[in-house]
């Protein structure tokens, strides 16, 4: 979709929301809006697109209490703000919008979280990603390194970049708007997306990308939207395997879940952001046992999180049930960099080749 088309679509969508309220008030009704309930109990697997999306549970917000009315008022101000941005062809970050809201009196945001949440609400109602509202996330995209060639429409013109030859040692920085990237060609067998920068640097330093024609990607913890969109587009465009390599603890499994199945918070965009073909590489609880890795005891919070995952529909597979129950049994967790205990080359010479061939990737 071109930028003009997206702009037109967003303008139409937000005006539709405002018009609906206008008509409600005109006919003497209390303005209201209905939204899907955004909890793990209201996400469903969509067979066609193979991702998790919101179910049909909806909650209705009517302006009949001060709290809900103020919420609607804030939304109206955001819509007004977005309309102005679209008209003037400007953009701002979510944080900037938060500061701009200082002048909105009663409609001003109490915290950044509130404005983020509200923009997500708007995305869901209008079915337009926030890029369409000219709102940029604060988060910077992560880096990618490997034998791929892309073409990016930058503010300084069209640039073609090879993500090994044309970039520095830290790789190519994924821009906020991945829609501006064209995927030219590649020589890659698979992608490894890593949670920590230490592991990303280790694989670059050990030349893992050249040896195995691998694309290395740094997720930077819970991945930003642009990072997830990048993985989604690589998978869609080139159809190469995507492997996710994280720490071996409950929080890291959620990183994998958000890459593969979509995050609960952004389930309305799962089709764009999730990569259903992504596979979990590690660190598996069974690796802690099999490789006898240095480990820490699970904290109470960890155990709680593991139990929560057992009821999360995204983890309702035999593989995950087995791994999570094994971890609860062991009572241990390990970081991916714990492989360094066996020497700096162990992960690239032994663990990854063994695990990747077990997964059938190489």
């Amino acid at each position: 979709m071109s930028k003009e088309e997206l702009d037109a679509r967003s303008m139409k969508a937000i005006l539709a929301i405002a018009s609906a309220w206008y008509d409600q008030m005109k006919s003497g009704e209390i303005p209201s809006i209905s939204l899907p309930t955004r909890t793990k109990y209201n996400i469903e697997y969509d067979d066609a697109s193979e991702v998790w999306k919101y179910g049909d549970k909806e909650s209705l917000r009517t302006a009949a209490s001060a709290k809900s009315a103020t919420h609607l008022l804030k939304m109206a101000y955001v819509i007004g703000f977005v309309k102005q941005q679209l008209k003037e062809n400007r953009s701002s970050t979510l944080r900037e919008m938060y500061y701009i809201s200082e002048g909105w009196k009663r409609a001003k945001f109490a915290a950044q979280d509130e404005s983020n949440f509200l923009v997500e609400d708007l995305e869901i109602i209008s079915d337009v990603p926030r890029e369409g509202f000219h709102l940029r996330p604060e988060e910077d995209g992560a880096s990618i390194y490997g034998p791929i060639r892309i073409r990016e429409q930058t503010r300084r013109g069209l640039k073609t970049i090879h993500c090994q030859d044309d970039v520095g040692g830290a790789g190519y920085s994924i821009p906020n708007n991945v829609e501006n990237i064209e995927f030219v060609d590649h020589d890659a067998k698979f992608v490894i997306a890593m949670e920590t920068g230490g592991m990303y640097d280790r694989l670059i330093e050990n030349g893992f990308d050249e040896e195995y024609n691998a694309v290395l990607l740094h997720l930077k913890g819970q991945p930003a939207r642009s990072t997830r969109r990048m993985l989604n587009r690589i998978s869609q465009t080139w159809n190469i395997p995507i492997c996710v390599f994280t720490d071996g603890d409950p929080w890291s499994y959620r990183i994998y879940a958000s890459v593969a199945y979509g995050a609960i918070k952004s389930a309305h965009l799962s089709e764009l952001l999730a990569t259903p073909k992504a596979q979990f590489l590690g660190l598996q609880p069974s690796d802690i046992r099999d490789y006898n890795l240095p480990s820490d005891k699970l904290s109470e919070k960890d155990v709680e999180a593991l139990h929560a995952e057992l009821t999360d529909p995204r983890f309702a597979t035999d593989y995950w049930k087995r791994q999570i129950n094994l971890q609860l049994e062991l009572g241990l967790k390990s970081e991916q960099q714990a492989f360094a205990a066996r020497g700096l080359d162990f992960v690239t010479k032994k663990y990854l080749p063994a695990r990747l061939s077990e997964m059938g990737v190489i």
Binding site: I30, A63, S65, A66, K67, A69, L72, A76
Partner: protein, 419 residues
């Protein structure tokens, strides 16, 4: 005087326990007056004879020594609820002749007599005239006078008896107002109208209060109830069972404890009703604010976005609330006050507007206006027929406060749109 604060506290509590009395105190050249709330003289308690079940050996010995009666007559005349038949039973049980003179009885035989008096069943003593309860109405008024609270309820339990001593329990609960909003509840303990100031922790009253489950009355609790709560407990008895000679704390007597807990539970239920009604009102007020303040703003913003004429939200207001709605707002250096009568009745009202504005140049001058410390109180007397709007505009800065009088609180909503 170093103990002045405690002393005044004592007097204040005494005034609550004796609301029929007015007293004036001069302390350090300062005069403090505690007014009475009732002009009626309280009924004097009538002395009754001791009850055979509530007597101790020393007292029996003194009474016997001072009497020149025969044993049976001594029992009948000296004790309450003892008749001929009961007296004879006691004599038989003690192994004494009914005709023997009591002042000649040796200690050993008096002991047998005392034991016999405890064993024979005797009806409970009369309780109505020998005690001096404050009364529910006077407790409420006394508390109202000394503590400004949003809610006060009092309960006088039916009188009862423990070990031959008549007693009556009275309790009161106050909530909100000027009570400190946090910390333990304020506890006022009285024994025969005398405030107990010390050893709160050792007192059976405190224990009873802690044993009530306040959470079920929507009051938070950590041992004692917490928050803006006042609890008064008065134990009136012919013999208040103190824990020690200092008379600071009441001992744990099961009969008394049971009465205290029952009275507190009754009042707790009343308090709960008050609190839930108040919360409901709060909810209604919240809704009113939303409709009156936020929805017009939403309408303005939405109309601006869709580039259509400003949508009128008053039908929504009228539909949601069949009330009198007073609004005040400031725009372009002009203050506007508007009263919408969405009720089904014509109403006459006084509109009070207190702010730094004089309202000079108002399109409808106020009925009168007074000044105090730079704040002008302006009053308009208006008649607002049902389903109509009254409006006044004057140049000014707004702020201050707005109120309408002449209608029930539940029928009016006042909103300052500038806030």
């Amino acid at each position: 005087m170093s103990a002045k604060k405690k002393l005044l506290e004592y007097l204040r509590y005494t005034s609550v326990g004796n609301p029929h009395a007015r007293f004036r105190v001069e302390l350090d050249d300062e005069t403090f007056t505690f007014e009475r709330v009732s002009q009626e003289v309280i009924a004097c308690p009538v002395a009754i004879q001791p009850h055979p079940h509530g007597i101790e050996f020393g007292q029996l010995k003194r009474m016997a020594a001072a009497s020149d009666e025969k044993l049976a007559d001594f029992l009948i005349n000296g004790f309450s609820r003892v008749g001929k038949k009961t007296a004879q039973e006691m004599c038989d049980r003690a192994g004494l002749k009914a005709t023997v003179k009591v002042n000649g009885l040796p200690a050993e035989e008096l002991k047998n007599l005392l034991a016999a008096m405890q064993e024979i069943a005797v009806p409970a003593p009369p309780t109505t005239q020998c005690l001096s309860p404050i009364g529910e109405d006077l407790i409420r008024r006394g508390l109202d006078k000394e503590f400004q609270m949003d809610f006060v309820a009092a309960r006088t339990r039916p009188s009862s008896v423990y070990s031959g001593h008549p007693f009556v329990v009275e309790t009161a609960i106050g909530y909100g107002g000027r009570l400190p909003p946090e910390g333990n509840a304020l506890i006022l303990r009285f024994a025969n109208r005398v405030p107990l100031m010390y050893q709160q922790g050792a007192c059976a009253i405190t224990e009873c209060i802690a044993n009530v489950n306040w959470k079920s009355y929507n009051i938070s609790q950590q041992g004692l109830p917490l928050g803006p709560v006042l609890i008064l407990v008065h134990v009136a008895s012919t013999n208040v069972p103190f824990t020690s000679e200092s008379k600071d704390a009441i001992a744990g007597i099961p009969e008394i404890e049971k009465e205290i807990v029952l009275a507190l539970q009754e009042l707790g239920r009343e308090l709960k009703t008050f609190l839930s009604r108040r919360d409901r009102n709060k909810l209604a007020e919240d809704r009113a604010r939303a409709v009156c303040a936020v929805i017009p703003e939403l309408a303005a913003k939405v109309s601006e976005i869709v580039e259509k004429p400003l949508v009128d939200t008053s039908p929504i207001e009228g539909r949601l609330m069949r009330k009198l709605i007073a609004k005040k707002w400031t725009k372009d250096g002009n203050v506007t006050i508007e009263v919408n009568n969405y009720t089904g009745a014509d109403t006459e009202l006084s509109v009070y507007d207190i702010s730094a504005d004089t309202a000079a140049g108002a399109n409808m001058p106020p009925a009168f206006s007074t000044e105090m410390d730079g704040q002008y109180t302006k009053v308009w007397k208006v008649a607002v027929p049902k389903q109509t709007v009254w409006r006044v505009t004057y140049p000014g800065k707004g702020g201050g406060m707005l109120d309408i009088r002449g209608t029930e609180d539940s029928k009016k909503v006042v909103v300052d749109l500038d806030v």
